[in-house]
C-alpha cells in the first residue's frame, strides 16, 4: 500500500503525474502561439507585410522594400522575446521567494532603480549608453532599499513590500524626470526609453544583454525545486532538505540579473512580472517546475502582443509597450489584491 502511494521522485503525487501530459501539451500550444505572435510582430506595423512575404524575407532575403521592413522589425521582436522572458521569470521567482502574490520587479522598484542608474551615468557622461553593467548596481541598490524599508523590524508582508517599492520607484521616477527634463541631451535619449519601449533600440543591445538573460534564466530554472519547498514555509523547507538561505540569495541574484538586463535594453516596464505568473498559475497551479518554463514562453508572448497592439491602435504613430502593459497589468493587480484574503 505504502509502496504504491510513495512518490518516486521528490514530491510528485499521482495526481500531478496525471496532469503532466496536459501541461506539456499546454506548453507546446503556448509556444505555438508565441511563434504566431513573432510572425505577426514582423508583419504588422505602419507598413503591413503579408505573412508569406515575411517568410521569404526571413529565409530567402532579397533587397525588396518588404524585406527591408521585415529586417527593421527583427531587432525589436528579438528584444521582446528576451525581455518578456526575463521579466516574467523574474516576477515568478520573486513571487516564489517572498511568498508574495504581489511581487513584480516593476512594483518593487527594481526596474526604476536600474533606470535611475542609467540616467545618472548618462548625465555624468560615464559609460556608453544603456549598459547592463551600469543598470546592475542600480537594480541591486533599489532591491536592498525596498527590502530594508519593507521588512525593517518584524515580518515583511506582501503589502509592505509593495508600498516600499512604490515609495522607492516614485521618488526615483521623479528623479529621472528631473534629470532628463533639465538636460536636453538626456531627454532626447530617454524620452521613450523612460516609459519602456521596444522600438528604435540599438541591435547591439541584444548581444549585450544576451549573456545576462541566459545566465539569469538558467539560474532561475535551476531553483524550481527549492522554490516549491520554500512555498511550504521556511521551517518545512529546511526539514525537506532545501537550503533556504542559499535559495534566497541565488534567487535574488537571478532576478537582479534579469531585471537589470531587461531595463537596460528597453526601459522600466511594469506589470509583466506581475501579470504573467498570475495568468500562468491559473493553468499550471503552484508547481514552479511548470510555472517558470511557462513564464519563459508566455512572458514574450504577452510583451510581443502588447507591442503589436501599441503599433496598431495609434497608427501611424506608435504607443510605447510599457503603456500597454500598464493597462493590461492594472486590472490583474486588482484581481490579485481581491484574492488576498487575510493578508491585507
Amino acid at each position: 500500500m505504502t509502496a504504491t502511494v510513495a512518490p518516486t521522485s521528490a514530491g510528485i503525487s499521482p495526481g500531478a503525474r496525471r496532469r503532466t501530459p496536459r501541461l506539456a501539451v499546454g506548453l507546446i500550444v503556448t509556444a505555438g502561439a508565441l511563434v504566431v505572435l513573432v510572425g505577426l510582430s514582423l508583419a504588422v506595423g505602419t507598413k503591413y507585410v503579408p505573412l508569406p512575404d515575411v517568410w521569404n524575407a526571413l529565409f530567402a532575403p532579397g533587397d525588396t522594400y518588404a524585406d527591408a521592413v521585415v529586417a527593421s522589425r527583427i531587432p525589436r521582436t528579438i528584444l521582446g522575446l528576451l525581455v518578456g522572458a526575463a521579466l516574467a521569470v523574474a516576477g515568478g521567482v520573486m513571487q516564489g521567494l517572498t511568498r508574495n502574490p504581489l511581487a513584480d520587479p516593476g512594483l518593487f522598484g527594481v526596474n526604476t532603480g536600474a533606470a535611475a542608474a542609467i540616467v545618472t551615468a548618462t548625465a555624468l557622461g560615464v559609460g556608453a549608453g544603456t549598459s547592463v553593467w551600469i543598470a546592475l548596481p542600480g537594480a541591486f541598490i533599489a532591491v536592498v532599499i525596498v527590502y530594508l524599508i519593507g521588512s525593517g523590524r518584524g515580518r515583511s508582508t506582501p503589502v509592505r513590500l509593495v508600498l516600499a517599492g512604490v515609495v522607492v520607484s516614485s521618488v526615483l521616477a521623479a528623479y529621472i524626470q528631473a534629470v532628463s527634463l533639465t538636460l536636453p541631451r538626456v531627454f532626447d535619449a530617454y524620452r521613450f526609453w523612460a516609459v519602456g519601449s521596444l522600438a528604435g533600440r540599438n541591435p547591439q543591445l541584444i548581444v549585450d544583454i544576451l549573456p545576462f538573460v541566459i545566465l539569469g534564466l538558467v539560474l532561475a530554472l535551476s531553483l524550481c525545486g527549492s522554490l516549491n519547498a520554500l512555498a511550504l514555509g521556511d521551517d518545512t523547507a529546511r526539514a525537506l532538505g532545501a537550503h533556504v538561505g542559499r535559495t534566497r540569495i541565488l534567487g535574488a541574484i537571478a532576478t537582479t540579473l534579469l531585471c537589470a538586463a531587461a531595463t537596460a535594453a528597453v526601459g522600466p516596464i511594469s506589470f509583466v512580472g506581475l501579470a504573467v505568473p498570475h495568468i500562468v498559475r491559473s493553468i499550471t497551479g503552484a508547481d514552479h517546475r511548470w510555472l517558470l518554463p511557462y513564464c519563459v514562453v508566455a512572458g514574450p508572448a504577452l510583451l510581443i502582443a502588447a507591442d503589436i497592439i501599441g503599433r496598431v491602435i495609434v497608427s501611424p504613430a506608435e504607443l510605447m509597450v510599457g503603456v500597454i502593459t500598464a493597462f493590461v497589468g492594472g486590472p490583474i493587480l486588482l484581481l490579485a489584491v481581491r484574492r488576498m484574503r487575510a493578508a491585507a
Binding site: L107, G154, S170, A174, A178, R191, S270
Partner: protein, 355 residues
C-alpha cells in the same frame, strides 16, 4: 499622583467658540490662530518673492504701483500674464489639494488615504486628457476631469471589495488605477500627436507654467464654494474620527458625513488637477504637517488649506529660481520631497502596526 491626573481631566481648558447663528460653531484655539497667522505671512512672503525674483521679476520699488495698476508696460505684462496668474493658481491649487487630502485622510482614518496615493488625481488627469484632447468640445475640461476622478474612485471603491475601509487595499488598488490612468493619458497624448515635452510634463507631472486668468477663475470658484462646505462638515467629521457608533450617538450621521466629505474632496482635487495637473503629494503632506503643528483633532481644514497653499507656491518658487537651463514642472519637485515623506510615514505606520 492620580489625584492630579483626574484634576487635569476634570477641568479642561475650553477654547472660545466662533458661532454664526445656530448652524456654524467652530472652536477658536490660540495655537491655530498663531499658526494661521504665520502661514498667511509665509504665503505673502512667497508671493512677494515669486513676483520680484529672477530675470523677469518686478523690481521691489515698482511692485506697489504695478499692483495698483499704475506700473510700466513690462512690469504690467509680467504681473498680468506671467507671474500673477501662476501665483494665484498655485496658491489656490495648493489649498484645494490640501483640503481634499485632509478630508480623505479623516474619512479613511489613515494618513495614507490621500487622493494622490489612491489614484484620484491620476484619474482626474485621465479625464482631463480624454475630454481636453481626445473628444474636445463635448464637456468643459474641468467637468471632464471630474468624470475621470469619479470613475477612478468608483474603481477603487469596487476594486477593494471592502469600500474605503481598508487603507492598504485602497493603496494597492490605487496603484493599479493610477497606472491605468497614466497609461490612458499617454495613449491620448500620442494619439493626439502632441508629443511636445511641455504638454506631456503638465499632464503627467503637474505644472504651473503658463497659467492664465481662466485657470485662476476655475480654481477660485471651486475654492469659494467647496472650502466653506468642508468647514461645515469638519465638526461632524471630527466626531466620525471617534468611530461610527459614537459619532451616530452624538448626532453626526456618520454615513452621510463621510459621503458628503468624499464628494467635496473629489471636487476640490479635480479642480486643482484641471488647472495644474496631478501635482503629487501636496494632498498627502500638507494636512499631516498642519495637523502636527496645530495639534488638534479633526480635519483641520483652514490650517491644511493654508499649509497646502504655502507648500505649492514655495515649491513653484523653487522650480522657477533653481539654476537649471529648463524650469522643471513643479510636480517633479513635490514628487521627490513628498515621496521621501511617504516612505517615512509608511515606516512610522508599520512600527505602530497599523498596516
Amino acid at each position: 499622583m492620580s489625584a492630579t491626573a483626574t484634576a487635569s481631566i476634570a477641568s479642561p481648558k475650553r477654547p472660545p467658540v466662533l458661532r454664526l447663528g445656530g448652524w456654524l460653531s467652530l472652536p477658536v484655539r490660540a495655537r491655530s490662530l498663531v499658526l494661521g497667522g504665520i502661514l498667511v505671512v509665509a504665503i505673502l512672503a512667497t508671493g512677494l518673492a515669486t513676483l520680484t525674483l529672477g530675470k523677469l521679476g518686478i523690481a521691489p520699488s515698482n511692485l506697489l504701483p504695478t499692483l495698483l495698476g499704475q506700473g510700466e508696460g513690462r512690469d504690467e505684462i509680467v504681473l498680468t500674464a506671467f507671474r500673477g496668474p501662476r501665483l494665484v493658481v498655485g496658491i489656490a491649487a495648493g489649498a484645494a489639494l490640501a483640503v481634499s487630502g485632509a478630508l480623505f485622510q479623516t474619512v479613511t482614518r489613515n494618513p495614507l488615504g490621500s487622493p494622490d496615493v489612491i489614484g484620484l488625481t491620476s484619474g482626474a488627469s485621465a479625464g482631463a486628457a480624454a475630454f481636453g484632447l481626445m473628444w474636445p468640445g463635448i464637456l468643459p475640461l474641468p467637468v471632464g476631469a471630474l468624470v475621470g476622478a469619479f470613475v477612478a474612485m468608483a474603481l477603487v471603491y469596487v476594486g477593494t471589495g471592502t469600500g474605503f475601509s481598508s487603507p492598504s487595499r485602497m493603496l494597492l488598488i490605487g496603484i493599479g488605477v493610477s497606472a491605468m490612468s497614466l497609461a490612458f493619458v499617454q495613449w491620448v497624448l500620442v494619439r493626439a500627436g502632441r508629443e511636445q515635452a511641455t504638454v506631456l510634463a503638465t499632464y503627467l507631472n503637474g505644472s504651473l507654467a503658463a497659467r492664465d486668468w481662466d485657470h485662476a477663475a476655475t480654481i477660485w470658484t471651486a475654492i469659494v464654494v467647496l472650502i466653506p462646505s468642508a468647514l461645515l462638515l469638519s465638526r461632524r467629521l471630527q466626531l466620525v474620527e471617534m468611530g461610527d457608533e459614537q459619532a451616530d450617538a452624538l448626532g453626526a450621521r456618520s454615513t452621510s458625513a463621510r459621503a458628503l466629505s468624499i464628494l467635496v474632496a473629489i471636487g476640490l482635487a479635480t479642480a486643482a488637477v484641471s488647472v495644474a495637473g496631478p501635482v503629487s503629494f501636496i494632498a498627502l503632506v500638507a494636512p499631516q504637517i498642519a495637523r502636527r503643528l496645530s495639534r488638534s483633532a479633526g480635519p483641520n481644514i483652514l490650517a491644511s488649506a493654508l499649509m497646502g497653499a504655502f507648500l505649492l507656491s514655495l515649491a513653484d518658487l523653487l522650480t522657477q529660481q533653481l539654476p537649471f537651463d529648463v524650469t522643471l514642472p513643479v510636480g517633479v519637485l513635490t514628487a521627490i520631497l513628498g515621496g521621501i515623506y511617504l516612505g517615512y510615514l509608511l515606516i512610522a505606520q508599520w512600527r505602530k502596526g497599523t498596516i
